[in-house]
């Protein structure tokens, strides 16, 4: 385990040096990343100029929700970006290089691409999150701070799991499937509002199938004093979600080994 962390740190270093080779491009991409999610923010902002509340949530409450979801996603995206570029890794033979090395494949895939430019998005998440904290009138306690941290971790795990599914499917299709955008970009886009505003059916799906609600809606209710205390434990679902994702990856890998590229 320690050894693996060390190796990941080494990848991290190389990636950072590589990114710094193109400083202008790096900065511009950061700004680009910021702008992309800034658009989403502007959308929310102007909707609230007109409507003032939605399903009982105020603007600052939505900001808190959006900030947390965006941060969960951005952390996962920085770490697990390797899965996102996985189709090209298969196509250009990088994955074959990975296979002839005596280390865990997932670790190597992750190390292959660490996306520092997502700092632009994380920064924005922090801003919205802070605004939400200041204005939402949440009475902060140790338990609530812990809940937020747990949400961030569980959420990052959940999104990593979804990226892992995306990569695992590439073993079968050899190309990225646009449909997975629903679960990644879609979740980021629509996760700006607490999932219950989309209606009961969506909430049901997001509770029992792809458990977004466990890392967003339920613990948020606890933060806003609208939900039970045990809602704060639900982000654990994000970690459990990793298990089936890993299973799918194993299945994909053995398929790849029997078919090749």
């Amino acid at each position: 385990m320690w050894n693996s962390l060390q190796l990941y740190a080494h990848y991290f270093k190389i990636q950072f040096h590589s990114a710094m080779e193109y400083k202008t491009s790096f900065i511009l991409t950061c700004i680009g990343q910021f702008l992309v999610s800034f658009n989403v923010f502007l959308g929310v902002f102007f909707m609230f100029k007109r409507f003032h509340n939605v399903s009982g949530y105020t603007y600052s409450e939505v900001m808190l929700c959006f900030g947390i979801t965006l941060m969960e996603f951005s952390i996962a995206e920085s770490v697990a970006r390797g899965f996102d570029t996985f189709p090209s890794m298969i196509a250009n033979g990088v994955f074959d290089h990975i296979m002839v090395r005596p280390r865990n494949e997932i670790l190597q895939v992750l190390g292959q691409k660490i996306e520092f430019t997502r700092i632009g998005r994380i920064l924005q998440a922090v801003v919205m999150f802070s605004y939400g904290i200041m204005k939402s009138g949440v009475q902060w306690s140790l338990a609530k701070v812990g809940t937020v941290l747990f949400m961030l971790l569980g959420g990052a795990a959940l999104f990593c799991g979804i990226f892992l599914i995306y990569a695992a499917i590439c073993f079968f299709t050899l190309e990225g499937l646009e449909i997975m955008n629903i679960l990644t970009d879609g979740a980021r886009e629509y996760g700006k509002y607490p999932v219950n505003i989309y209606g009961k059916k969506v909430l049901f799906i997001c509770t029992f199938f792809v458990p977004y609600a466990l890392i967003q809606y339920y613990p948020l209710l606890y933060l806003l004093d609208k939900g039970a205390w045990w809602y704060t434990l639900l982000p654990a679902g994000g970690f459990l979600f990793l298990l089936p994702c890993y299973g799918l990856w194993r299945l994909g890998l053995s398929h790849y080994k029997s078919v090749g590229s």
């Binding site: 491009s25 511009l28 991409t29 992309v36 800034f38 658009n39 509340n53 449909i179 969506v202």
Partner: protein
């Protein structure tokens, strides 16, 4: 003209080949549209009086946007063009008896339309069967439908002309990716891709409607649902033509400069 048409056919059958990708794309658009509409419904329930369009017109707007995504989304640019500029393969293009700007324009047009034609029907058919007001409605009148088709094509051409400017900037900058992301964000926001233009505060709306971005998807989608009609519609169409001419003129100008630069610097 013939060579452009054969390019279109080639793209079309290439697009057909990736059947999993096509199915996946269509499914994505269903979900995306549905979520968008569920969101608008939540706001409608919060305060129906603040809604600037009818809910029915908003839903039609959303479905049309999904159906014709390939025509208007700025992120749908061609990597091959960026690559050929960055790695210098563009010099080969110069050896051919074709104007680079015209060829790329034709190519983008072929790409966008072939993709849109492949993808629009499932979305349109599906959304037609949804219960009112959540589905797509029939066009308000025959003439509105005809104008819709005309402005749809005009809007797509304005989008392509704008993307051409982005390609052209790559001749002069080291990082195309940054420029591209900024351009994509600006287009998406100002063309009413995040929320339709009528949802913005009135003053901002007035400004936005004059920008070239409002001449992209905004006009066609709102004509279809009857939100844009009469004098307003005519003004919008004139603006579309105006921006198309201006953007193409600027693009061709930059193209000439860029070609000079290549010839002098050797790529």
């Amino acid at each position: 003209m013939k060579k452009y048409f054969s390019f279109f056919k080639l793209r079309f059958s290439m697009g057909l080949q990736y059947r999993t990708a096509a199915f996946a794309g269509i499914a994505t658009q269903f979900v995306w549209g549905s979520m968008e509409i569920l969101m608008f419904r939540a706001f409608y329930e919060a305060d129906a009086s603040a809604f600037p369009m009818t809910l029915q017109a908003t839903c039609s707007y959303v479905w049309m946007q999904q159906a014709f995504l390939a025509l208007f989304m700025a992120w749908f640019m061609e990597n091959e063009i960026f690559d050929s500029i960055v790695d210098g393969n563009i010099s080969y293009e110069l050896c051919r008896p074709i104007n680079v700007y015209d060829m790329w324009f034709a190519r983008s047009t072929a790409n966008r339309f072939s993709r849109a034609i492949l993808r629009c029907f499932p979305v349109l058919i599906f959304s037609a069967f949804l219960p009112a007001p959540f589905g797509i409605m029939a066009p308000v009148s025959v003439s509105a439908f005809v104008w819709f088709l005309i402005t749809l094509i005009l809007g797509a051409l304005v989008t392509i002309a704008f993307c051409m400017l982005v390609y052209m900037t790559c001749f002069f900058t080291v990082s195309s990716l940054g420029v591209r992301m900024v351009a994509v964000s600006v287009v998406e926001f100002f063309q009413g891709g995040v929320i339709p233009i009528p949802f913005f505060p009135e003053k901002l709306q007035k400004v936005m409607e004059l920008l070239p971005f409002a001449s992209m998807q905004n006009v066609a989608l709102r004509i279809y649902s009857g939100d844009l009609a009469g004098v307003q519609m005519k003004k919008a169409i004139i603006l579309q033509v105006f921006w198309l001419v201006v953007l193409v003129a600027i693009g061709k100008g930059i193209n000439r400069l860029a070609m000079k630069k290549i010839v002098i610097q050797g790529g």
